[in-house]
């Protein structure tokens, strides 16, 4: 019973955090129909930003959150205008963006490796509180609670943006139908650029906590993070950012339960979940049937 409780509470915390990992990928896909295959590398970049902030300049790693926000604006806008409008004019934006962002990811991975070295890096463990916080007698490190708390805050902020602001309405309109949004006079390019930057910022914020959740970070984590994010996003349903929370929880609980009971097989969880969901319900657990030939 003890073990089961530990796995379930841990799985929920882990899952909430992994919703944040996946949500940026999903936001960008939902708005632009573009697959950011460099997503994992952006997350890793966020982790290195936190590492710089805390180890190099001696601040609390939480300052990494505003740092990656600024970085996302600085990187995101030029990147958006350099590639996205061009991709959307092409014949098959989904597949071409897939390949293109794969290239972007490779470049980012190489640059991270050149800039920070291939070693694994960790963050000071006491910075987010060195204690453990318990629920129902199960204790988890404070950094996990921080990660889950910031994830919830970021997801709530995204939800408020969607439901309370004019730009958020416009974003949802584009997600529903790009052509009709264009026809009603929404500046699709401007709104999409904002969503693109927000997607990168969410990835970066998730990255700040990555060294705590995984123990350490290294430049080559990107691809497996992208695949995991993909699994989470597809479980939730591609194109519906808030569905990602469900994906994250399914993934988190699944991983934690496997780690508790069959730990040597737990690294299979995201891939098996992905395959099963994609084959049984390609539109995700919450998705509407939208698949064509």
């Amino acid at each position: 019973m003890e073990l089961l409780e530990y796995a379930i509470i841990g799985g929920i915390l882990y899952g909430i955090y992994f919703s944040l990992i996946g949500i940026g990928l999903n936001l960008i896909f939902g708005v632009m129909r573009i697959i950011n295959l460099a997503h994992g590398q952006f997350i890793v970049l966020g982790a290195y930003a936190a590492w710089l902030v805390s180890r190099h300049f001696g601040f609390n790693p939480l300052w990494g959150v505003p740092t990656v926000f600024v970085a996302a604006i600085v990187i995101g806008y030029p990147l958006y205008y350099a590639v996205v409008p061009r991709l959307q004019r092409s014949g098959d934006p989904e597949m071409l963006s897939f390949i293109l962002f794969f290239g972007v990811g490779q470049m980012l991975e190489a640059l991270t490796g050149l800039g920070f070295g291939a070693d694994q890096r960790s963050l000071p463990s006491e910075a987010l509180g060195s204690g453990n916080l318990g629920v129902f007698g199960q204790e988890f490190p404070d950094s996990w609670w921080w990660a889950a708390g910031v994830s919830i805050a970021a997801i709530v902020a995204l939800w408020l943006y969607f439901t309370r602001t004019r730009l958020g309405y416009a974003t949802r309109a584009i997600m529903a139908s790009r052509e009709e949004a264009l026809a009603t006079g929404i500046n699709v390019n401007k709104v999409s650029a904002l969503a693109f930057v927000a997607g990168l910022a969410l990835a970066g914020i998730a990255g700040v906590f990555l060294p705590y959740l995984l123990g350490s970070v290294s430049p080559d984590l990107g691809d497996s993070l992208t695949t995991t994010s993909f699994a989470i996003v597809i479980i939730g349903s591609l194109g519906n950012p808030l569905g990602t929370i469900i994906g994250g929880l399914v993934f988190g609980l699944g991983t934690m339960l496997m780690q508790t009971y069959y730990s040597s097989w737990s690294n299979l969880v995201p891939y098996v979940l992905l395959l099963v969901i994609v084959l049984i319900r390609p539109t995700g657990l919450l998705g509407k049937a939208v698949r064509s030939v």
Binding site: V83, R86, L100, V104, T227, I234, N267, L268, L274, P282
Partner: protein
């Protein structure tokens, strides 16, 4: 064309001493060509293509260890094992575009984690890999890989000229019209998928024979898929010589700088992919086709 390939790779070892480099180059040409069969003619981009390669390598090695058959037959068995794996994964073809790519990647990762799992160490060697050094034969395996290379190129040529390949390309452009003129889309895709899987399996078998000692990472690393994709995109997919040119040029570049400075090489090919997608989706061969040169 085929004769030229054979001549080049039979002659090169005599003038260039590093035979293992030539062997790896052939391996990548085969993989780029095998990927080209699927991606160039059906538009399905398998990120997990390496799964078939690893599957072939492991099946071949296990056959060598346990069956006592001649090694060549074991390599063929490796190819068949990959085809069987392709049949099992056949339902993936119901997915389209990015879903297919990611799902095939997931499948290859599952294979890797299963094969390298310590619980299966008695059968697959787990993380320590397999050893078949009793059949180590660099020259024979070199010639086997050359034969696989010729086979892959011949298949691409067949796809390029036959009605079957024409039907595939029609399907890629407009599946609905293609099915209306009587092309059995599902069957044609599945056949291509299995052929492509078999090519990778044969390559994996010959590769395992040549190495004769390997870890699971060596035959399941995502980098193999990545190279196959980049090489064939660079040359130009849907052609016969595109993947050969792409693999030839880029692998030479890789062996010149990639081994000592892998990160600079990664930066370069990442940049190459971006530029190719934005400016040259048809690969370098499209420079010729745009000027009216017919490319085979």
């Amino acid at each position: 064309m085929l004769a030229l390939l054979i001549a080049v790779f039979l002659f090169l070892p005599h003038v260039y001493g590093n035979e293992s480099l030539l062997f790896t180059l052939m391996t990548f040409i085969v993989l780029a060509q095998g990927l080209n069969l699927l991606y160039g003619f059906t538009g399905y981009l398998p990120f997990g293509y390496v799964g078939f390669f690893g599957c072939g390598a492991y099946a071949t090695s296990l056959l060598v260890l346990h069956s006592g058959l001649p090694v060549l037959l074991c390599v063929v068995g490796g190819g068949l094992a990959a085809v069987v794996m392709g049949l099992i994964l056949g339902p993936l073809l119901r997915l389209s575009g990015a879903y297919f790519s990611i799902a095939s990647l997931a499948a290859s990762q599952i294979l890797y984690f299963v094969v390298s799992n310590t619980n299966l160490a008695d059968i697959t060697g787990g993380p320590y890999g397999l050893k078949i050094e009793q059949v180590y034969a660099p020259t024979a395996s070199y010639h086997t890989m050359l034969a696989v290379l010729v086979l892959a190129t011949a298949l691409a040529a067949y796809f390029r000229v036959s009605a079957f390949g024409m039907g595939l390309r029609a399907t890629r452009q407009d599946p609905v019209s293609a099915s209306m003129v009587g092309i059995n889309i599902v069957r044609a895709r599945l056949i291509t998928w299995l052929i492509s899987a078999g090519v990778a399996g044969l390559a994996g078998g010959a590769y395992a024979w040549n190495l004769s000692v390997f870890y699971p990472e060596a035959v399941f690393t995502l980098q193999i898929s990545v190279f196959a994709i980049v090489f064939s995109l660079f040359g130009g997919v849907g052609t016969v010589i595109g993947p050969i040119i792409g693999a030839g040029v880029l692998y030479s570049l890789y062996s010149a700088i990639g081994i000592s400075e892998p990160q600079y090489f990664q930066l370069i090919y990442g940049g190459l992919i971006v530029l190719l997608v934005l400016f040259m989706p048809g690969g370098v061969l499209s420079l010729l086709t745009r000027r009216g040169v017919r490319v085979f």
